[in-house]
């Protein structure tokens, strides 16, 4: 009898501990240097201010799948989730993320500009609060590319002048666009061409020319590693990762900003939270996306803040003490030739082109 009692008490304690206590929230992000920058810029000041304990979860790469599963099970354990814009659009469309009114739920800029105007075009979905602008771009080994380092994107497809392996992401997004650009399609026509089966074949045919020299990556850390090992001579990845290879690890790597593809990353709040948790999530969002906080994050990682009013506040790297502005993808010197990623196109065509691309990869 006594044993049963102890068992029951243990079970009760375990259940209570597993449940969400009033002073805890789970924030989901990408891990690594990126989560660290959020910890320093947002989580620590917020915990200090309110006493809320923040639990980190590094599952953003699978956020859509996991949120869908949680929604089906009727048990949502996440409070705030960091996702890329395309995933945010998808979550919002499926009713898995809560709609946010920027004017009442987000902090205005210090000069009184409303949040909606301050974020401007970057509010690509009703559920999405952008934090950063990052870009997917190329880095190359300065010691392995010969005497004329590449200056433009088509060097990736130029095996004659730049022989060696290159690393590309194992998905069609960005690769298809770059392939078409280097196959002579004008920048403004890329998505019109890509919407047709012939255009998709054209892009794959261009990628075919370098297929044997490509190492495909699926984690953001792969390309920096491959570059540092000298395994590839150039490779695409997020610009913040290249920053860390170049500035923090001092590897012989340089940036090729040409045709960098801008993308957004930001917060969503899962739909279906209890009133109390929702309130806390909104409070956190309000705090974490104000002008100063967004500028603070740029001290730790080279991603541009998503608010117009934050840009002038971007200062120096917290540890290295170098100016961060020249390393931002949005810096005019880097943004001479950028490529605007079309979220809606990929929301609509992703299923189709993914299937084709994966089949092409396997062949």
């Amino acid at each position: 009898m006594k044993a049963t009692k102890t068992l029951l008490t243990t079970a009760a304690v375990a259940i209570a501990a597993g449940g969400v206590s009033a002073e805890e929230m789970t924030i989901v992000s990408w891990g690594g240097a990126y989560s660290k920058s959020q910890l320093k810029a947002y989580h620590e000041p917020y915990s200090e201010k309110t006493g809320v304990t923040i639990l980190n979860d590094d599952s953003s790469a699978e956020a859509v799948a996991k949120l869908r599963a949680m929604n089906e099970a009727g048990n949502i354990t996440w409070d705030v989730v960091d996702v890329v814009a395309a995933d945010a659009i998808r979550l919002c469309d499926e009713g898995l993320a809560m709609e946010i009114d920027p004017d009442t739920m987000l902090a205005p800029a210090p000069d009184g500009t409303s949040a909606a105007d301050d974020f401007g075009d970057l509010l690509v979905s009703d559920c999405f609060i952008p934090q950063i602008v990052y870009s997917t771009t190329f880095g190359y080994r300065t010691d392995l590319v010969g005497d004329t380092p590449p200056t433009e994107i088509c060097a990736v497809f130029d095996l004659e002048n730049y022989p060696g392996k290159r690393s590309l992401e194992k998905r069609p997004i960005n690769n298809m666009e770059w392939a078409l650009l280097c196959d002579g399609v004008a920048k403004d026509d890329v998505y019109d061409v890509l919407a047709t089966p012939e255009g998709q074949d054209q892009a794959l045919a261009k990628l075919d020319t370098i297929k044997d020299s490509v190492v495909w990556w699926s984690a953001g850390a792969d390309t920096p590693q491959l570059l540092a090992d000298g395994e590839v001579i150039m490779g695409s990845t997020y610009n913040g990762r290249l920053f860390s290879v170049i500035e923090e690890q001092k590897q012989p790597v340089a940036m090729l900003w040409d045709a960098q593809v801008f993308d957004l990353d930001g917060w969503i709040i899962p739909a279906g939270l209890s009133e109390e948790r929702q309130q806390r999530a909104l409070d956190y969002i309000m705090f974490a996306t104000d002008t100063q906080r967004l500028a603070d994050q740029a001290k730790y990682i080279s991603y541009g803040p998503a608010r117009a009013s934050s840009a002038p506040l971007v200062g120096q790297h917290a540890e290295l003490g170098i100016d961060m502005a020249p390393h931002m993808p949005t810096d005019p010197e880097n943004a001479k030739n950028t490529f605007l990623y079309n979220y809606e196109f990929w929301a609509d065509y992703r299923d189709d082109i993914d299937a084709k691309f994966q089949a092409w990869l396997a062949q």
Partner: protein, 424 residues
């Protein structure tokens, strides 16, 4: 003797009940007590293992989404002939708008779009785009709808669209299984996928082939090692055993990453070969991000699963048998082949089953060292679970994989006999 013939009736126990009944009762009580002892484990396995797996497998045929999202439309489409080549009539469009208004409000129309997009490309964008406009219509007052709906998106004016909806409206479907074998369910019946989408059969074949190669290379490498371990003096063999067990206890991810360092073109193996002058500097071996990489890394990782059963079987083979054979004039080879080897077969069988079944469902190692040519079907399942979110197809692939494993196990039982497998 005479007593028994006099009392011709059932034998009675002390309390007067028939002995048979009394025995059965006490046996039943015993069985029940035994069951109570294993009940916690049984319940645990049931709820944490069998129920989730069963519900996941059920997804491979479950298809309620069309009926649930468009109930009125599905009903209205019953009377429409999908092979007539004509558009459905006004009633269908009317029902469709009513359904869509509700669906847009609940935001379920995009999920339906994604579902139908697996069957007919372009459906996803059609539902997403039309939803924005159709959600604003009022089913009571804004009719008739046929022209308005076609105006919103021309796809609704294509009989093919409605045929797809009708074809996929039953609550149970074989569509995912057809997809899993590179076919698809169309209004005209099951057909082959377009050639540029056919990869899954090839992947199944590759998974089976590579698992066989890995199992075979494990047997080749493990046999001499196990023999050595079983025949050397205990003190030495224990030391060697640690060398087998240490990597076995090391994290899978660490071992796989270590192979990455070893195998890459600037890696340890290539550097050594170049330094020795066996390979030219500009012709380094490509032994990672392809099938070779997967086979090497997985052979190493699964090797202990072969060595351990082999070792424990070989240990039980009495040395006197081989000595006896030799004393009667058998050569070394005959002794091995006629006496030792047949006795070690149960170990090979056990190891092979372990390694093969583990290999066929392996996921992490092929993902890291396999590139695009060395990945398995399980990588495809993971892709559909977490990236493309086509859970139905993932469940169908998983079901097929499970069936293949069971089938092979059955074949093994028929040919070799499962009684011949010994783990110790």
């Amino acid at each position: 003797m005479t007593d028994a013939t006099q009392n011709a009736g059932p034998m009675l126990a002390a309390d007067g009940t028939p002995l048979k009944q009394s025995l059965a009762r006490s046996l039943r009580r015993q069985k029940l007590r035994a069951l109570m002892l294993v009940a916690p484990l049984l319940l645990f396995v049931l709820f944490s293992f069998i129920v989730p797996i069963a519900s996941m497998l059920f997804r491979s045929v479950e298809n309620g989404i069309v009926q649930e999202t468009l109930p009125l439309t599905v009903e209205a489409l019953q009377s429409w002939e999908e092979n007539s080549g004509e558009l459905p009539d006004e009633a269908v469009y009317d029902a469709f708008v009513q359904d869509m208004v509700v669906a847009v409000d609940n935001k379920t129309h995009t999920r339906l779009g994604s579902r139908l997009n697996y069957e007919e490309t372009g459906m996803s964008s059609m539902f997403r785009r039309s939803g924005r406009k159709m959600g604003k219509l009022d089913p009571e007052t804004d009719g008739p709808f046929k022209d308005q709906v076609i105006e919103i998106h021309e796809g609704w004016g294509d009989p093919q669209t409605w045929a797809v909806i009708k074809t996929h409206s039953p609550a149970v479907t074989n569509g995912y299984f057809l997809n899993a074998v590179d076919m698809r369910r169309t209004p005209e019946g099951a057909q082959a996928q377009p050639e540029d989408k056919q990869i899954l059969i090839k992947l199944f074949g590759r998974t089976l082939f590579m698992s066989l190669v890995i199992t075979a290379s494990c047997i080749l490498l493990a046999y001499p090692v196990s023999y050595l371990l079983a025949t050397l003096p205990m003190r030495v063999s224990n030391l060697l055993m640690i060398l087998v067990l240490l990597p076995f206890w090391t994290s899978l991810l660490v071992r796989t990453s270590a192979w990455k360092v070893m195998l890459q073109q600037q890696g340890v193996i290539n550097e050594t070969l170049v330094w020795l002058g066996l390979v030219a500097d500009d012709a380094r071996l490509v032994i990672i991000n392809n099938q070779i990489g997967t086979i090497i890394a997985m052979t190493h990782i699964l090797l202990p699963f072969m060595i351990l059963p082999m070792y424990s079987v070989m240990q039980t083979i009495p040395e006197s048998y081989t000595r006896a054979a030799k004393s009667m004039g058998a050569t070394n080879w005959t002794t091995f082949w006629r006496i030792y080897f047949p006795q070690s077969i149960p170990g090979i069988g056990a190891g092979s089953i372990l390694v093969f079944i583990l290999a066929i469902g392996y996921y992490i190692t092929p993902e890291i060292v396999g590139g695009t040519k060395g990945v398995f079907i399980s990588n495809r399942i993971a892709y559909h679970i977490s990236s493309s979110l086509n859970w139905g197809l993932a469940a169908a692939l998983g079901t097929i994989l499970l069936a293949v494993v069971l089938l092979l196990y059955w074949c093994y039982d028929k040919i070799v006999g499962i009684d011949n497998v010994k783990l110790g």
